[in-house]
Structures are given as C-alpha cells and as structure tokens.
C-alpha cells in the first residue's frame, strides 16, 4: 500500500509538471498579444511593458523562472485584471466554485440515489421508466443548454429565483440544479443497476422469509450494499462538475474559477490561463488519486497495485 501510494503520488507530480510545461510552451506559441492596447503603443513602450513582465528574456529563461516560481506557489501577475497576483485572483474565486460544486455533488447524488432506489423497487413500472427517462436526459442534454433553458423559464419567465449573480443562498439554487443534472443521471442509473443486483441476492430472500417489512429490506439490507460501488462514480462526477462549472458560472454570472478561466481566455491573459489550468489539473489528479484509494479501502477485492484486468 505504502509503495503503491508513493508511486501514485510521484506519478501525480510528474503529470502536473508535464501539464505545467505544456501549458507554458503552448502559451508561448499562441498568436495574439496579451496587452490590450498593443496596436496603439509605440514600440519603445511595448518593450518596456514586455520587460516589466519578463517577456523580453529568452524562452528557456522564462521557463526556468516560471517553474521556480510555481514551486513556491507564485503563479505570476495578471496582465489584464489590475495587475493582481494570479494566486490572489484565484483564491478569491475558489469559494463560490467550491460551494457550488459541493452543493451540486451532494444534491445530485442524493436525488440520483433516491431515483435509482425507487426505480429498482418498482422495476418496469412507470416509476422506473420515468426515472430512466430522467437519467437519459441528464446524461445526454449538454449542461449549458439545460442551464440556459432553466434560467430563461424558471428565473426570467416565472421569476421564482434570481436570474444572475451570487449574493445569497437563493442565488445558488438554479446553478446548483443546472450543475447537478449530470450527477443525478449517473448516480440514478448506477444505483438502479446495483439495487436490482442486490435485491436478487439470497440474503434479501432470507430477510423476506423472516418477515422483514418492505422498507426494512430496502433500507437496512439492500441500500447499504448497493451504496458501496457508488464511490466508483464519484471521481468522474467531480471531474464533470469542473467542466460544467465553466459554462454554468458563465451563464449565471457567478464569480468563480470557471468564469475567471473563460474570461481570461477571451482576453489572452496568459498567467491567469496558466494558473487556472494548473489548478484545475491539480484538482483533477488529486480527485482521481483519492477515489482510487477509496476503492481500495471500501472494497478490498479491488487490487490497488494492479489496476488492470
């Protein structure tokens, strides 16, 4: 276990290093200039600007400096957003994104698990079919389409919730629903299959035989065992929430990381793009590692070191 962990963590840092390097060199060959008014500036002034941000040095020097700073947690200074250090800029925006992601994750899995349970208990009835239909919709419909339509019909037309911004709990409800549609779909599908599997096993038959009530069987015996494998989908779900946050935050004008990322792309703010990319990548690899370790703890049958069948 210890050896496996060490290997995985080493791999994690290697991946992050590769991502940081790729991002750096890609940023160097991107066409376009980071300075908003570059066309109007006289060449001398442009040189001064470049010198200020260290862009006049040869690329290998810039690269070494960048990696050095990165190791110390310094992600550079934003070109566009009032010369704020990138880490400050991102730190400020981490809160809303984290809250939104956590809410969507919790809400999504709870609703999804409930849907899956009801579908499995009432297999091949209208309950099952409508749960399956919701799952198909949630998996297939792109989240920005869903978020856009939700905003238009619920917030603009019906006026039940605020349309934009991030000023209190009622502002978080629609974005949370928009973001949680994918977790709902995936966990409902997964839960249904697992529950049907468990409900067919011998110990459920025994519970029935000893006269346990329907709900006792469903909750005490079946649910517990069906919930365990759900951990396996939590990783991919968390990652999908990261992708989703980009568009959902844009639609609802939420001051989060995703919105920052989209904005910095449109204005060519290299340090912010690089910083956000590395942060996203770091979250990504950490989530994958944590989920892999969780599998091993929860289900010892899954061999940690192998990983391939």
């Amino acid at each position: 276990m210890g050896k496996y962990l060490a290997k995985r963590i080493l791999f994690m840092f290697l991946t992050l290093f590769i991502i940081a390097s790729i991002t750096f060199f890609l940023m160097k060959i991107i066409p376009g200039t980071p300075f908003a008014s570059a066309a109007k500036l006289p060449p001398a002034q442009l040189e001064i600007m470049k010198a200020k941000y260290g862009l006049d040095q040869p690329v290998p020097v810039q690269y070494a400096k960048y990696i050095g700073n990165l190791l110390q947690g310094d992600l550079g200074i934003s070109f566009q957003f009032n010369n704020t250090p990138v880490s400050d800029l991102m730190f400020k925006r981490l809160g809303p994104s984290m809250q939104l992601g956590a809410q969507a994750m919790v809400f999504g899995t709870i609703i999804g698990v409930l849907l899956g349970i009801f579908a499995a208990l009432r297999q091949n009835t209208w309950v099952d079919y409508s749960a399956t239909f919701i799952a198909v919709l949630g998996k297939a419909v792109p989240n920005f389409v869903f978020a856009g339509l939700l905003q238009y019909f619920i917030a603009v037309k019906l006026g039940w919730f605020p349309v934009l911004f991030w000023k209190g709990f009622e502002y978080t409800i629609l974005p949370t629903i928009a973001l949680s549609i994918f977790p709902i779909a995936i966990s409902a599908r997964f839960m249904r299959t697992e529950m049907i599997d468990v409900l067919g096993s011998d110990y459920i038959l025994l519970a029935k035989a000893k006269g346990a009530s329907f709900f006792e069987i469903a909750i005490k015996h079946a649910l517990r065992n069906a919930l365990i494998p759900l951990v396996t989908v939590l990783g991919p779900l968390a990652i999908s929430l990261m992708t989703g946050s980009l568009v959902v935050e844009k639609i609802f004008a939420i001051p989060g990381l995703g919105e920052q990322f989209v904005k910095s792309i449109t204005v060519n703010d290299y340090p912010v793009i690089m910083g956000t990319t590395i942060l996203f990548a770091a979250l990504f690899v950490v989530i994958i590692l944590v989920v892999d370790i969780l599998y091993g703890i929860i289900d010892p049958r899954i061999r940690l070191s192998g990983g391939k069948k």
Partner: protein
C-alpha cells in the same frame, strides 16, 4: 389420481417415436454474430426509435439547407430577429409558429406584419437577418461532421495503438502504457481548450484538439481485449501456420474486436458533439459565418430574453442528437456485448 385415470382412456397414449437420425437436427437457422446483434437491437424499442430519429436528423442536415431556398450566410438586416413562422401551422394558435412575439409589456405583436415581410422563415432569423432554418441544419451538418471525423481518427489511432501495445507486450507495452497513463491524467477539457487557443478555431483544429486525448480510451479497451484474445488457440494456430504479426492482428484479432470498437466509437460521437458545442459556448467555436449547433446556441443565448427561439431551436436539436446517440449506443452495447451491461 384415480379420477384422472377414469377420464382418459389408455389407448390415447402412444409411445413417442425416437428417430436417432433426427436427434442432432438443428431447428432454428443459425445466426451470425451480426444477425444476433441486430435481433437484440430490434427488440430494444428505445434504441430502434433513436435509430429512426437519428436517420431523419442526418437526412435533414443534408436536405434542410437545400429546401429552405435560402443561403446560410445571406444577411438581410431588415429581416433581423424574426420569430418562426410556418405555412399552415401559423393559424394554429398554441403552436409557436405564427410569427408572433411577446414584447416586454406582455403584448403580442406579429413581427412579420410590423416589418412587412411576406417570406416565411420556418425557424425565424438571427440578429443579422440570416435564415435560422438553413443555419440550424447547416450547423447540424458541421457538428456531425466534426464529431464523426474525430470519432474516426480516435478509432484509427486507438485501435492501432492498443492492438500493437497489447499484441507485442513486454517493454514496448510498458512504455506505451506509461504514455497513456500520463495522457489519461490530463483533463480533456484543459487540453482541448489549450489546443484551440494555439490552433485558432476552425473545423480541422477543433477536430484535432478533440482527438489529442480522445483516442486513449479506445486504446485501453482494445489493448485489454487483445491481451485476452492473443492467448487463444486460433491465434496460436495462425502463428503455427506462419502468418505474420500484421496479418494475425488484422485478420484474426480485429474482427473479434469489432463489437468493442463500435460501442466505443458510438460513445465517442456524442462526447465529441458535446465538446464542440462546449467550446463554442465559451467563445472558442467556429468563426462567423460558419455555424455549428454550438455557435448557434452561443449566439442565441446572448439574445435569449428578447428572442428565445434563436437559442431554443438549436438547443432542442442538439439535445435530440445527444439523446438518440446515447440511447443507440446503450442499445448497441447491450446487443453486442451483454457482459458490458450496466
């Protein structure tokens, strides 16, 4: 028991004739793998309905731009932002095809009368007065084209990579596996966005960006299958007969992999459609006047409150495409590989 004996007389019972020549006879026609799979897909109503809807959509993607009688990039600013109006359907009041728009005060106005337009725009027009019916189907065409091309490239790279890695094994496999491990560790979203930033949006660059990490999934599945298959007797037999590695892979292993490859490709297509639309939505899509479903949704979203039809129509089409592809892929998976059922 005694009752029964009295009711049925004994002479009605006869010993069955056992013909040993016929005992080995096969009554049902033997089915090939594909006939069997098709039978199972046909039983799955959702998958079959999806297939029909999908065929209709693909047909419309090609026929649509031709039958509207308008070009997808012709601008007519005097006809801008018109709501949809369709001949025949315009008189049915509950359908949204009467060219009527509700303004901010809640009053219904027939925009066609206000702007004195005699033409019919079936899906309305956009901010530059371009016909949305033509643009929507043209966009569907381009979205499907990007997705199919990306899926095809993913398939080719993934199958070759996975087959070589799995078949040869040893050190080569080890090196190739380390490469895929690193690639899997990089989030697709970030690679795709960075690649588009470098390459500049266009049909080819979006396709390339989608395939950079897209093939890894296919490669892993193919490798796992090849590892299993290559130990089987028919491969050994082929080797004994002196066939080359290339021939064994292409003649013996690949046909056995067809099911897995098809399933995987069917799941790649909707995810490619999604990523293309996703890129458009965050401002990295195709450039005007080209349209894809993603750019149409992005443009429509900007004016959603004033002219909802401009986003809702392409949004509905992309959703239908995604749903049908997903359902057909599920159906195919169940039909081709019952072990993979979830």
């Amino acid at each position: 028991m005694a009752n029964l004996e009295t009711k049925i007389s004994k002479d009605r019972f006869q010993p069955a004739i056992i013909d040993s020549a016929k005992s080995e006879e096969i009554n049902k026609p033997s089915l090939t793998f594909w006939q069997d799979a098709w039978m199972r897909v046909r039983k799955n109503k959702g998958a079959l309905a999806s297939l029909i809807v999908m065929v209709l959509l693909v047909l419309m993607a090609f026929i649509g731009p031709l039958i509207s009688g308008k070009e997808f990039d012709t601008q007519k600013v005097s006809h801008n932002n018109l709501p949809p109006r369709i001949q025949g359907l315009e008189n049915i009041s509950w359908l949204p095809f009467d060219g009527v728009k509700v303004n901010k005060a809640g009053k219904e106005i027939n925009m066609y009368e206000v702007k004195k337009v005699d033409e019919y725009y079936w899906f309305g027009t956009d901010a530059l007065g371009r016909d949305l019916f033509t643009r929507t189907w043209k966009g569907t065409q381009i979205s499907l084209y990007i997705a199919l091309l990306a899926a095809l490239i993913d398939m080719i790279i993934g199958v070759i990579y996975g087959a070589v890695s799995g078949y040869y094994g040893g050190r080569l496999d080890n090196v190739m596996q380390r490469i895929t491990e690193v690639l899997v560790g990089i989030p697709t979203m970030i690679v795709v966005i960075l690649m588009i930033l470098v390459l500049q949006p266009g049909i080819i660059s979006i396709t390339v960006a989608l395939t950079i990490t897209g093939w890894v999934g296919m490669a892993r599945v193919v490798r796992a299958q090849v590892l299993k298959l290559k130990e089987q007797e028919f491969v050994l037999a082929s080797k004994t007969l002196g066939n080359s590695d290339g021939k064994i892979i292409s003649k013996h292993l690949l046909p056995n992999l067809a099911g897995v490859i098809i399933i995987n490709t069917m799941f790649t297509i909707p995810s490619a459609i999604f990523f293309e639309a996703f890129l458009s939505f965050i401002g990295l899509g195709l450039q005007d006047p080209l349209a894809s479903l993603g750019t149409l949704i992005d443009e429509g979203f900007k004016v959603l409150r004033l002219h909802p039809h401009e986003m809702i129509i392409p949004a509905v089409i992309i959703s239908i495409i995604m749903i049908t592809f997903n359902m057909l892929a599920d159906g195919l998976r169940d039909a081709l590989d019952p072990k993979m059922r979830d």
